[in-house]
Structures are given as structure tokens and as C-alpha cells.
């Protein structure tokens, strides 16, 4: 198992994702002899997990069952323990494509936070790329470095505990892409420029507030970045369901021909069944604005 390569069978030391239901997942560190509590009962790692195929159904002690899935960055994003607000798959997917990430890309990122985007980047740039990620909070930096190791992706990433606005990313002229998710991204734009390859590259800044976006765009223009583009992407989920809609009773229709069992009785309890989708009651209406730009050759 690794977050950048699939395997078929669950092994001791793997990180697996337990799928309990829609919007209900849980990461598990597989360990011989260990047990994990779920609302359906206990999962015993040695008998229920180790040696089983990923994707298997596991019956828990109380009788209910769950599925055990191979980890992916997308499953990790919805299961990981939050240390900060994280980026979700919708924004991550947009960032990945707009930064033109692919195997071999060298990426600089700050702040690392809880590592949600980091895992997605690592998956995309493997096996030959590298991620330089900067986190100014010491404990968060240590925690995420630990996770990279457990997830068997540490060879693809360097974590630096420093302030990107003061000290930059720790590398110069090597990055194909830079990503900023910090409170004052305009202060890091010049460091982004330094970290990017001389021949050019892409930059993205994520900010919840429009004022931050304005300041960042100004800084990007001042530093000679081109092709500025600010967007927001929102996910809409459609819940599929069958709904039943009753038919109105307008009373007996005198002009209608008599039916087989109509003895002047009005039709009742008639309804139409529809297969349709409904939106959830509340949806995330805003995560942040994504600003992209291109650094030209310098």
C-alpha cells in the first residue's frame, strides 16, 4: 500500500480507509493484534484485515458490516484528522489541472496545514516529481511529515518548518508550480517567483476573502506574472431519490367514458412515482477564490 501506488492485499502497517456509509469514512492504521471500534462493532486487525483484499466486506462484532478500501488522496481528504481547515477535492482537482501538474512536476506549497492537498499533489507528481512544502507551525509540520512516512510517500516530499513569507520555500529556480494557501499570500509572491524555474511556471493562490485576492493580484502583476485568472468552483451534489406525488382529485369527470369499476366514485389515492434528484438542504456555498497566473521566462 502507498498513496501513490495501488496494492491488492491489506498488510500489517498499511493505512486503510474504512467505509461505513455515505459521508462516513475512517482511516485505520493496520496493526497485528490491534482492534478498532466502529458503530457496527469491533474490527480485529489480524483476522478481519491482514491478508484480506482491499475492497472486502468486513463484518464487525455487533453484526453490522463495513468495507475496507485502499487509500486514495480523495478518501484521505474526507477522513483525515483536521488540524486546520482543509482543501476539498473540488478545489484540489481544479488546482491540479490549472497548475498543469503531472508525473515529474516539481511543486512548492505553503502552508501544508493538514496535508490534504499535499497528498493529492504527491499522487499526481509521482514517481519522478518532488514536493517542497512549507509549514510555519512546528507541531503541524512534524505531524504531516510523520503521515507522509506512514503513507510511504516521504521520498517524494521535503517538509520545511519555516515562514514562507520571510524565508521562501528553501529552493530556487526548480519549481514548475507554486501553491499558496496562507493568510498573506502577497508577501510570498516574490518567493514564489524565485522558487519557479527561470523558464517559467504556474502559480496558484487560494484565499477566502476578496481583499486578499485583490492584494495578491496586485503583487502578481507587480512581479511580472501574466495570464491572471481568478475563479471559484463549487460542488453541487444531486441526491437521487424516488418521490411520490399525489394526483389532485378534481371530482368525477362527467364527460369521461365510464371505466371498468367506476360507479360514480371518485378516483382516490392515485399518485405518480418519479425518479429525480434533490439538492441537499445546505451546501458549502464558498470555500475560497483560486487565483492562477503564469510566470514568463526571466
Amino acid at each position: 500500500m502507498s498513496f501513490v501506488e495501488y496494492s491488492d492485499v491489506i498488510q500489517d502497517g498499511d493505512v486503510a480507509i474504512v467505509y461505513l456509509g455515505i459521508d462516513s469514512t475512517m482511516p485505520i492504521k493496520v496493526q497485528k493484534g490491534a482492534q478498532t471500534q466502529t458503530r457496527y462493532g469491533v474490527i480485529r486487525h489480524s483476522t478481519d484485515l491482514i491478508g484480506q483484499r482491499y475492497g472486502s466486506k468486513v463484518t464487525c462484532s455487533k453484526g453490522g458490516w463495513v468495507h475496507v478500501l485502499h487509500p486514495t488522496p480523495e478518501l484521505w481528504t474526507v477522513s483525515l484528522p483536521h488540524r486546520t481547515q482543509i482543501l476539498y477535492t473540488t478545489d484540489i482537482a481544479t488546482i491540479t489541472m490549472m497548475l498543469e501538474l503531472k508525473p515529474g512536476s516539481v511543486v512548492c506549497e505553503s502552508g501544508t496545514g493538514s496535508g490534504s492537498l499535499s497528498h493529492a499533489i504527491l499522487r499526481t507528481i509521482a514517481p519522478t516529481g518532488h514536493l517542497h512544502t512549507v509549514e510555519f507551525h512546528q507541531q503541524r509540520a512534524e505531524k504531516v511529515a510523520e503521515e507522509f512516512k506512514e503513507h510511504r510517500v516521504d521520498h517524494l516530499v521535503t517538509v520545511r518548518n519555516q515562514d514562507v513569507c520571510k524565508d521562501g520555500f528553501g529552493v530556487t529556480g526548480v519549481a514548475d508550480a507554486v501553491f499558496l494557501d496562507i493568510p498573506s499570500p502577497w508577501e510570498a509572491v516574490r518567493h514564489a517567483k524565485t522558487a519557479l524555474k527561470r523558464q517559467g511556471g504556474r502559480v496558484c493562490s487560494f484565499s477566502p476573502c476578496i481583499e486578499q485576492v485583490q492584494k495578491t493580484c496586485q503583487a502578481l502583476m507587480d512581479q511580472g506574472f501574466e495570464e491572471l485568472s481568478s475563479v471559484e468552483v463549487l460542488l453541487r451534489v444531486h441526491d437521487v431519490r424516488v418521490v411520490s406525488m399525489p394526483l389532485p382529485d378534481f371530482g368525477p369527470d362527467p364527460s369521461a367514458p365510464p371505466g371498468p369499476d367506476s360507479r360514480g366514485e371518485a378516483p382516490n389515492h392515485a399518485s405518480i412515482s418519479l425518479k429525480t434528484t434533490t439538492p441537499p438542504r445546505e451546501i458549502p456555498g464558498h470555500t475560497g477564490y483560486l487565483t492562477f497566473a503564469t510566470k514568463p521566462r526571466t
Binding site: V4, E5, Y6, D8, Y19, I22, G51, Q52, R53, Y54, G55, S56, K57, H67, V68, L69, H70, T72, P73, E74, L75, T89, T90, A93, T94, T96, M97, M98, E100, K102, P103, A120, R123, T124, P127, T128, R198, Q199, I210, V213, Q214, C217, L228, S229, S230, V231, E232, V233, L234, L235, R236, V237, H238, V240, K275, T276, T277, Y289, T291, R297
Partner: protein, 468 residues
């Protein structure tokens, strides 16, 4: 800093490269060929002068349709303090403020004035320009630039650029797949280097190319295709290095059922109806009855007793035989390719399934889902929500999937300028819908650790001529 030629060689435009021409928001993919006139935004141009230049260079289009690299930009004139008004209360839009006529502008163009110079002429001859607010002046200049600047930028293709191009230019060819939806597909499908991805698309090859870009030449991609042959134009526009094509396989869907049933035999000389059909078409063109060729093949070396055979006839014989050999070699290659695709598929252990087509998605996914290993993602795109509602229902009934979600994305662009920040006035009405999920082991799946039982040889049947 002097350019080190070697260091930059991969950033230079070469003959034969697949590139994308860009002006503003207009993109067009093409190939660099010498001496070839190409059309871009109603202009005929030659790309010859671009060879050897760096990618992302912007060129002026000069007389004759040739390209001239632009000099580095000077400081914008807009940064100089200009005379400007405060609001438009006294500006009357009577269409008479521009003193230059259409003919005047044409004359300027013919005189060879550059875009920037024409714009300056327009400003100088506008009676209302200096009354406009600074912002209105900016907007005016931007608008004129769009109209009169005669430039083109040459870009290296990427998924981002090609997806935006297709969506802007020919959305019908890609089932109206918007680029952010494509981005979601690639991520939800966990497309990454080293995996084995099945792709079924009718998006001109754009989805295929995007998947291949994210695989980086590692792993394998099997393109399942309807009809006579896989469509790859969009993929070719990416300009992948040759070795990427080694990871690409194709498999005609007309054989899916046979493959799943274990009855597909790729060693048959007249292997697939597909190849046979195209062979027969070619034969009709050449107007040679098959029997005659078969008869000739059984001939040994030319009968030495036939002294009456003329040199001419012998040469024609030889040509026929060579043609026959080439045909056979081609057919053999096709059979090998089919066998290679079958080898990839028959293990039913693909890592991902991406579907984006005009075909009804339920039928497609029910047919192809069986090729996926358990705990692997699948993503289905459709322009229409109802088609995916049906698909969702079928998947739920069939079982073997979890985390199935029907989604779409809402994309909004912003103009960010000091005191003029707002969402853009127009936005995309829709970018299509996605149904995504993960496979799980079905209850009939074999227990972990056991090997898949080999298909007994007797079960295989040669494809008969009547099939297909």
C-alpha cells in the same frame, strides 16, 4: 543572463511539434510544418519563423502572414498620468465621437501601422476619450487592443489549454464537457502514473489525452472504442513523446461480451470482424478477388517450366506477393495488438474506469465495470443528468459499488482590478454531470489469496465468419 542553448532546447519550437496558437481567449491546436499556410482567426499565417523560438513567445503577424517575435514589453503608457474625467454625466453616446472613419482605419492598416499605433490614432481622434474616467479609458484601450492587435502566442499543449480550447471552440465534439468537470474526473478517478486505466470516450480523444498526461508514460491506458477504430485526434494534439504510445492499447467494444465470457480468441487468422471489415473495404478498392490471392499464396516459387512468363508478368506477380505480405504483416500486427489489449483486460484488475461519451452511460458502465479490481474508482460523465440518475439506480441495484455520488460543478470567473472587482457578466450555463464511486468486492468474489482459475482450453471457440 545568456541563454544556454542546450538547457533550453526542450523549450524551443521544432518542426513537427504539436502546438497551440493563442490570442486572448481563442486557442487553436496545430502542427508546425514548414511552408504551410494555416488559418487562425480569419488570418492566413506561416509558422516557419516560429521554429527555433521559445514556447510562449508572442509574435506579431506581419505582411505576408509571417511571424515576428515581439520585443520585450516597454512600460505601459497607461502608467503615465493621463487626463481623465470623473463620471459620464456629460458624455453623449451619439456614435460621432470617433473622427476616423472605417476607411481611414483601413488605410492605416495598409500603411503597415502596428496595432499599438492604430490604437493611439483612435485615442487621439476620439473627442470623448479624455472625458472618460480612468477606468473607462482602460476598458476602451483593452477593447481596441482585442480588435487591432495582430499577435499570436505559441504555447506548448497541455490538458488545461486543450480542454479550454475544445470547450470554447468545438464543445459539441466533446459532449460539452467543461474543463473543470474534466479536472474533477481526473482527480476522482485517481489517475496517476503506474496504474491501469480504462477509458471509453467520444470526446475526440481529449479525455484520453488528459488521462495519458496524468500517467506520464507509466502504467497503461486501454481505450475501449465503439465502431471501426479509436478516435485520437485530441490525444495527438498533446504531442506526447513516442514512448507514451507504448502504454496505449485499444479494444473494440464489440468484443467485450466475448472477452467476459472467455470465448474471445485472438489467434484466429481472420481474427476480428472489425479488421476483416476494413480489410474487405480495402480489397474492394483494389478490386482483387480474395480467392485469386489465396490461390497465389499456395503457389510455390514460380514454376521454372513456364518459360512463356514475361518479365512484366513476373514483376506484377512479385508486387502482388509483396502487397500480400504487407497486408498479412499488418493483420498480424493488429492481432498482436488485440492480444495485448486482451492480456491487459482479462485479469479484470484495472485500477480505474473513465467514461465520457454520447452513449447511454448505464449500458456502458454495466458492461465495463467488471474489468475493474475491487476498491478502485470509476467516473462517468454525461451531458444529461437523467442519464446518470438511471445509471445510479442500476449501480445500486447491481451492488458492488460504494460512495456513489452524482455531482456537477459550478464555475465562476472574476475580474479583479482595484475598485472594479466583480464576477464576470457571463458564465458557463453548465459543464455536464459526473457520477463517481468506488468498486468493492462482490459477495461472489473469490476469497483473498486464491489464484484465479485458468479458463479450460476447450471452452475457447474460434470466432466464426458470421459474427460481427
Amino acid at each position: 543572463m545568456a541563454d544556454n542553448g542546450d538547457e533550453d532546447s526542450e523549450y524551443r519550437i521544432k518542426v513537427g511539434d504539436c502546438v497551440v496558437l493563442k490570442r486572448g481567449d481563442i486557442f487553436k491546436a496545430m502542427q508546425i510544418q514548414l511552408g504551410k499556410k494555416v488559418i487562425f482567426e480569419k488570418q492566413w499565417i506561416f509558422l516557419d519563423k516560429a521554429v527555433g523560438q521559445l514556447y510562449s513567445t508572442t509574435f506579431d503577424i506581419v505582411s505576408g502572414g509571417n511571424l515576428l517575435p515581439q520585443k520585450p514589453k516597454n512600460a505601459d503608457d497607461a502608467s503615465d498620468a493621463k487626463e481623465a474625467g470623473t463620471d459620464n454625466r456629460n458624455i453623449v453616446d451619439d456614435g460621432k465621437s470617433q473622427k476616423l472613419t472605417r476607411d481611414d482605419i483601413e488605410t492605416l492598416k495598409e500603411q503597415g501601422l502596428k496595432g499599438q499605433e492604430i490604437i493611439q490614432q483612435l485615442i487621439d481622434n476620439s473627442s470623448t476619450f479624455r472625458d472618460k474616467t480612468e477606468y473607462a479609458q482602460d476598458k476602451y484601450i483593452k477593447k481596441k487592443k482585442k480588435k487591432y492587435e495582430n499577435t499570436v502566442t505559441i504555447l506548448k499543449p497541455s490538458c488545461r489549454i486543450l480542454a479550454m480550447m475544445y470547450h470554447g471552440r468545438e464543445p459539441g465534439k466533446i459532449c460539452h464537457l467543461r474543463y473543470d468537470t474534466l479536472a474533477q474526473m481526473l482527480t476522482l478517478g485517481n489517475v496517476h502514473a503506474g496504474s491501469k486505466v480504462l477509458v471509453f470516450e467520444t470526446c475526440a480523444g481529449l479525455v484520453l489525452g488528459s488521462v495519458m498526461e496524468r500517467m506520464g508514460g507509466y502504467g497503461s491506458v486501454i481505450q475501449m472504442y465503439p465502431g471501426g477504430g479509436p478516435v485520437r485526434a485530441g490525444m495527438e494534439s498533446f504531442g506526447f513523446p513516442a514512448h507514451f504510445h507504448d502504454t496505449l492499447h485499444e479494444f473494440p467494444i464489440c468484443h467485450v461480451n466475448a472477452l467476459l465470457a472467455g470465448t474471445l480468441d485472438t489467434t484466429d487468422k481472420h481474427s476480428s470482424a472489425v479488421e476483416k471489415q476494413s480489410d474487405q473495404d480495402k480489397e474492394k478498392e483494389q478490386n482483387q478477388p480474395k480467392a485469386e490471392q489465396a490461390g497465389e499464396q499456395q503457389d510455390g516459387p514460380e514454376d521454372p517450366n513456364m518459360e512463356t512468363v514475361t518479365a512484366e508478368e513476373a514483376r506484377v506477380e512479385k508486387e502482388k506477393k509483396e502487397k500480400e505480405k504487407r497486408k498479412e504483416a499488418k493483420a498480424q500486427e493488429k492481432r498482436m495488438k488485440l492480444a495485448a489489449a486482451v492480456a491487459q483486460l482479462e485479469g479484470r484488475n484495472a485500477d480505474g474506469l473513465i467514461i465520457a461519451s454520447r452513449f447511454h452511460p448505464s449500458s456502458v458502465v454495466m458492461g465495463l465495470l467488471k474489468f475493474l479490481a475491487p476498491s478502485r474508482p470509476f467516473v462517468i460523465y454525461s451531458q444529461y443528468r437523467e442519464a446518470l440518475i438511471e445509471c445510479f439506480t442500476k449501480l445500486k441495484e447491481h451492488g458492488g459499488t460504494v460512495n456513489v455520488r452524482l455531482t456537477d460543478t459550478w464555475l465562476r470567473h472574476y475580474q479583479v482590478l482595484p475598485n472594479r472587482t466583480h464576477p464576470l457578466l457571463l458564465m458557463s450555463g453548465g459543464g455536464g454531470y459526473l457520477l463517481s464511486g468506488t468498486t468493492v468486492a462482490t459477495d461472489t468474489a473469490k476469497p483473498s489469496g486464491s489464484q484465479r482459475v485458468e479458463e479450460p482450453a476447450a471452452k475457447r471457440q474460434k470466432l466464426t465468419d458470421t459474427e460481427g
